[in-house]
């Protein structure tokens, strides 16, 4: 499946805006991404290993919080989007 990396996180993913990973669930897809780009981990997960509250994962158009979170099954043609909050000028 395809994972779309947002601009603020691309520098932690080798500058790529999208990566293809083999996966059967959302969680597997993210783990596959993190194993090739370990620097991304702290931007997606907190110290307790929970997805950060300012980062959302969307399977196609849907927030995985309202599906089965990281256990949500995925198919080959699906797209997983990482959507972090952005504020603009100042931080």
């Amino acid at each position: 499946m395809k994972i779309l990396i947002p601009t603020p996180l691309q520098s932690y993913a080798g500058g790529q805006s999208a990566v293809e990973v083999p996966a059967s669930t959302v969680g597997e897809a993210v783990q596959a991404l993190l194993s090739s780009h370990p620097e991304l981990r702290k931007h997606l997960y907190n110290e307790q290993g929970r997805l950060r509250a300012f980062v959302n994962l969307y399977l196609n158009e849907d927030d995985v919080r309202y599906l089965q979170h990281e256990q949500t099954p995925v198919a080959d043609g699906d797209t997983l989007s990482i959507v972090p909050s952005i504020a603009g000028g100042r931080s």
Binding site: A53, D62, V83, G89
Partner: protein, 385 residues
């Protein structure tokens, strides 16, 4: 409040708005609704510029603007409501003048203040809807909560580099910003536009989307961006749409609300108590100190942790290792030497200093305020960017 019938249009206005009036979706009734509408723009910067211009041109009767900033040369690349001659003026005055120039029928209400928990409810009271053109997380959560608490729609837009987001929050039965993002990122984890940059047209694109949504809400026509998050990627020129849901556990609009009045948003965003980079932390070096030490011939190793394209803009002749490459390239540095690390404004270099200290470097300083402060206070020949 004046009724819609009182919002008569004179002949000049009829001519001015003729392209609206001949469309049944707007028509006389719609144009009167626009004239009666009171829209508050929070911020007269990148997003606020295009949206205020279009709302004024469209005939929105009352435009409130909240801003306390002054026009800077670096704003002109995207903040099109201000012109070169306005540099140094209050953004509020410059914006009001441009708006009046476009449409003298608009009543501009200027609020020269930072939006705070103490003044937000009072400022919002006299407006029908709020357009969020702010540039920081604390004010975004404040705008969201004040909109939810006062029952006013919040037309949201946000940008970073080539990417933007837009939605309408706080509408009746619709989700709010907190439903999407319950908490802000800790300070420093997400780069700002001042450090990460922003394509000048992007706030134009996103601000005009916000203006479109504001006008649709006023007219009560079309499908507003309620419950949808629009993602704009200017580089790929792709627009995507994600579904947003009202979070039943949302602390401000959910079923068991824990926020019934405005809170301390600086604290919520982890900002209060944290010293700004320019004010210095322990072990920081000021630009003046660095100058003095270099002039005295002290053996200092200057490390620049910006990106190579920034180094091209200006540099202090330091050794360049971009922050993200530092872990792999740390062997290029000598732990026994005294090292001064700098970036543009002091944020990235502070992270580099922390990293170096954790990795056995004991004599490392952060240049407070970065090369920007150096340009301002030591060497005016160095360009600011």
């Amino acid at each position: 409040m004046a009724s819609l019938a009182d919002q008569a249009l004179n002949n000049d206005e009829i001519l001015r708005y003729s392209r609206h009036l001949i469309m049944p979706e707007v028509g006389m009734d719609g144009q009167r609704k626009l004239k009666q509408a009171r829209v508050l723009c929070v911020g007269a910067g990148g997003l606020g510029s295009p949206l205020a211009l279009y709302l004024a041109a469209a005939g929105v009767g009352t435009l409130g603007i909240v801003d306390f900033d002054v026009v800077d040369f670096s704003n002109l690349q995207r903040q099109i409501i201000h012109s070169t001659a306005d540099v140094g003026r209050k953004k509020l005055d410059s914006a009001a003048e441009t708006i009046t120039g476009i449409n003298p029928n608009v009543n501009v209400c200027k609020f020269e203040t930072r939006l705070t928990s103490d003044n937000a409810m009072e400022i919002f009271r006299d407006f029908d809807l709020v357009v969020d053109g702010t540039d920081n997380f604390a004010t975004r959560y404040l705008v969201n909560d004040a909109c939810v608490l006062s029952g006013k729609p919040n037309v949201y837009g946000s940008i970073f580099r080539f990417e933007g987001q837009a939605s309408v929050f706080g509408a009746k039965d619709g989700p709010c910003y907190r439903c999407l993002y319950p908490e802000p990122p800790p300070p420093g984890l997400v780069p700002s536009c001042a450090e990460g940059g922003v394509l000048g047209i992007l706030p134009g694109l996103v601000g005009v989307i916000q203006a479109t949504e504001a006008i649709k809400l006023i007219l009560g026509t079309g499908e507003p961006l309620i419950g949808r998050l629009l993602l704009v990627d200017a580089l790929a020129m792709r627009f995507r749409e994600l579904k947003l849901r009202k979070n039943p556990d949302c602390p401000v609009c959910g079923n068991h609300r824990t926020i019934s009045k405005l809170i301390d948003y600086e604290q919520f965003c982890g900002i209060s108590g944290q010293e700004k980079p320019a004010n210095g932390r322990s072990g920081d070096m000021t630009p003046e100190e660095l100058k003095q030490r270099l002039d005295a011939g002290d053996d200092l190793f200057v490390l620049d942790v910006r990106d190579p394209h920034e180094y091209q803009i200006c540099n202090l002749g330091g050794h360049l290792i971009p922050l993200k490459d530092l872990p792999q390239r740390v062997s290029e540095l000598d732990p026994s030497r005294e090292i001064v690390v700098h970036c543009k404004m002091g944020g990235r270099s502070a992270k580099a200093v922390d990293f170096l200290k954790q990795n056995g470097f004991s004599n490392v300083h952060n240049l407070a305020g970065g090369i920007q402060a150096w340009a301002e206070r030591v060497d005016p020949k160095v360009p600011k960017y």
